[in-house]
Symmetry: C2
Subunit: 534 residues, 2 copies
């Protein structure tokens, strides 16, 4: 992956001519920014990792698996939010003091023990695709901070054909997991936009949701078991499907983003590689009509594998299909449906009946095929936009169907007024990409002129948006998770008692507070035993 | 409900002639037991509830809502396991010191505060149908213990037609919930065998699973939000479907069986009352063939609302259809399928194709109709069996498909050898009633001559069975939950680290340890702050 952008450098996209022409119309005057710093010119904060530290960890992991060189450090300096990428453009950057690369669960256990003994914070690192600050090199009052890169822990550790379950090492990437499962004729079917780089452990730790969630569920629901190394002991969960043996503790580690320990293995349910795939696209008069149609589909059930609704703005610039951006200025709101499995014709007919009855007009396979072909390409375009002086960021939430339209309006208003107050014209697009019987997600993309103070301006706007989400009854995140960026709203989401519960578990499992300090709990992170003098 | 048996006394069944004839063939010689004690003759342990206690709670709840009379106490003395019912036959019985009947969430909050101040343990009481000892009047080192009966907290507190969500007060019974939802054309569709008496809060606290779980999911998956009163603060969870805002804390209260606080309100997803219902029954050569067929159905998906497989023993005595017990001595293993919804014909055809391909022969609607008509009647029959001197108990587990047959054999063996060592011939039946893509539940019914030492004998056999379940890779409970009876195995199920997590949350929310002491955590229950001198 590019050290300061998205994905494979060879795939980096030039901004298409059509987009370059469209942007001034949408955003007004755009200035080219200062060129980004070259990797060789980045000045990192000095490393607090001592040669003794290096020796101690190298004795366990091997010398090559303890990295303190500048490139290794800067490549683990953060995730892939737009603020992360803007920070990667600066001459001076913060980075972890070292990068550790354990080979398996047992090496992770030793790393955590040594880190706790040596007063070193640990940031678990999977694919590095967090967009909520979960990978910030925060020391949290400790002497140093290391990035624990799980990239070497990759592979299919177990496969049960009868039970349709597979055990994957946490560092296995999405494509590698699918490649390994395909050898058994199976797939996981989890395709978030981060699919090409993100890892199985990261999907679990962040409660990821993929584009096929209507068919195969959120990653939460795919997980049937986990193995976790914590600073005070291992835990293996998920003996059986459908257990009532006390609270479901798997769900306490899903979404924990490394604050309790390191998820090292994930057991998942898998299904046969689909024998058939059909798709159909639909046009609706407006977002509200389209949303009502999606609701009908979600509540009836047994519908599509993928269903998405782009609002008028997103439809108009066809950003839903990156390859066609700016080509067709469609009107109204557009819907993509994809059906995979053994009974696709019946499900397509069933869904088509509902969408038509709700006011939709079929627009054939074309737009859905375009979406499917280019669905992982959006982040490449962001790199090109930043280079051209255009700020581009995404954020997401979810709520019940009855609150969906109000939430969309509130977030759109907060984004537009926030940028207006910062002296910029913003273009805001929204889509629904995950539906449930009781509600749906909303995913926003915002474009605006970058400006020299982009980071500070966005920080203020993001806070305004977070407050708007809470006031309108949304969740602070549907699938990006909490990290550090969303921690200020977690108390409003789960209440003071909820924060106390999460902190109590943290104190129990990680009394020194070395695990990803400041993530998820933010200011509610308990004071470590050491700092408290215990 | 009968104070010492199951359900409405007017429905109490005489043992049918066919059963009376069959029992000696299955079990050998059966002696009639001593007659059960009459309610008026029960001698209760003295109440530790003082008149000051009564005055303090009466000031909040009203005099009539603080019960210390013998009948109220004995009616809250336990659940409805067979050991519970055997204990209800004794002349001397343990019971809570008082019964409190709050009217709403706020009154529950005050009850918990007063109980903590006055060193009184609290056992939340819903429908009283626990079969795992969750309602035992255990003081846990406190001065007294009260049963907190939520029966007055009944009703539909909110309904969102657009989002298909309803908020139900925790004390609402299954039938009452369905009656209230039917007024909106909706249903919950949760039909465990305890349906007629158990409550919404109890379903949540115990992670219940109903007979329609293949269609509508476990109760876990129906819950979209909860409100809980704990001794140290309220919590409301479930802002949105599909959230990634940290760990899913709803799942920490589902299955907590009152050890953290009292679930007072439950938000659930609901669906339209099904427009159609069709059913079909199937015969298989044996259990293993039938199980493989169910696996195919569960893994393909979009199948029946109900699917059940009775093993050879259960099929032979037709205990699956209580109304027909002993009538038809069918051979092989039998399967019931029921389809509800809008597309029942297609799903029935789809399922029939799989079952036929897997070796099944259709036996028409009859057996499925019989099952549906009598599905809540099993427990009534147990009362009649106990009166006739026959011990009858059920227990359940679940595991992955690949371990299912081994688990069934291990449990059957443990039951038979356990009773043999206790000098009794046992008859063991088993069915699968809940299926998942990765595994299924197993539900056992055992019959044996009662004998004078039935409680002690069963205690030893139950331990042998629990150990066998663990050794064979099963969960200690699929839907009966943990209570006190399964607590000894929870450590093996979730590990030492898992127990530490549950205990840490307990210390945080209930530092005095007043909430259902000894339930779930058993010996791992943390020492209360008071007792520890903190």
């Amino acid at each position: 992956m590019r050290w300061n952008g998205w994905g494979d450098p060879d795939r980096a996209a030039e901004l298409p001519f059509a987009v370059r022409s469209l942007l001034p119309l949408l955003l007004g005057r755009i200035r080219r920014p200062e060129p980004a710093v070259a990797l060789a010119d980045v000045r990192l904060s000095p490393s607090a990792f001592t040669s003794e530290d290096a020796d101690v960890f190298a004795a366990v992991l091997g010398v090559d698996q303890v990295r303190t060189d500048a490139e290794s450090r800067v490549r683990h300096a953060g995730g892939r939010s737009t603020p992360d990428l803007l920070r990667r453009r600066d001459a001076v950057q913060a980075a972890p003091d070292a990068v550790l690369q354990p080979r398996d669960h047992d090496e992770v256990v030793v790393c955590l023990r040594l880190a706790a003994e040596r007063d070193i914070a640990v940031i678990p690192f999977g694919g590095g695709t967090s967009v909520v600050g979960a990978l910030d090199p925060e020391r949290g009052g400790h002497r140093a901070v290391v990035s624990l890169d799980l990239g070497r822990m990759s592979g299919l550790l177990g496969y049960d054909a009868v039970s349709a379950e597979a055990v994957l090492a946490a560092g296995t990437t999405g494509p590698e997991a699918e490649r390994l499962l395909a050898q058994h004729g199976m797939e996981l079917g989890h395709y978030p936009q981060s699919f090409r780089f993100a890892t199985i452990g990261g999907f679990a730790a962040a409660r990821s949701s993929g584009q096929n969630s209507a068919g195969y569920g959120r990653f939460d629901t795919m997980v049937t078991g986990i193995r976790v190394a914590t600073p005070t002991g291992d835990i293996e969960l998920g003996r059986s499907p459908g257990s009532a043996a006390g609270p479901d503790l798997v769900r306490l580690f899903l979404g924990s983003e490394g604050i309790y320990g390191v998820i090292t293995e994930v057991r998942v349910r898998v299904h046969p590689v689909p024998v058939e795939r059909v798709m159909e696209s639909w046009a609706f008069a407006d977002f509200a009509t389209g949303a009502a149609a999606l609701r009908a589909v979600a509540q009836l059930g047994n519908g599509p594998t993928v269903i998405r609704l782009s609002d008028e703005a997103e439809t108009s610039v066809s950003l839903a299909q990156v390859g066609k951006i700016g080509k067709a200025l469609a009107r109204g709101a557009s819907v993509v449906t994809v059906f995979e499995g053994d009974d696709v014709a019946a499900r397509r007919a069933r869904t088509a009946g509902l969408l038509q009855a709700a006011g939709g007009t079929s627009s054939g396979e074309g737009p859905s095929e375009d979406w499917l072909r280019t669905r992982f390409d959006g982040p490449y375009l962001r790199d090109a936009l930043l280079d051209a002086g255009v700020f581009c960021e995404t954020l997401e939430t979810a709520t019940t169907w009855s609150r969906l339209e109000g939430l969309r309006e509130a977030v759109t208003r907060a984004l537009k007024s926030g940028f207006a107050d910062a002296g910029r014209k913003a273009f805001v697009m929204c889509h629904v990409s995950h539906v449930y019987p009781t509600g749906a997600s909303l995913y926003f993309t915002v474009l605006a002129p970058l400006g020299a103070d982009a980071l500070a301006a966005w920080d203020g706007i993001k806070h305004r948006v977070g407050d708007a989400i809470m006031a309108a009854g949304g969740t602070i995140s549907h699938h990006h998770a909490v990290g550090r960026d969303h921690a200020p709203w977690l108390g409003e989401e789960i209440g003071e008692t909820g924060l106390r519960i999460l902190a109590a578990v943290k104190r129990e499992l990680d009394p020194e507070g070395i695990m990803n300090p400041g993530a998820v709990l933010g200011a509610a992170t308990p004071v470590p035993a050491r700092a408290a003098g215990a």
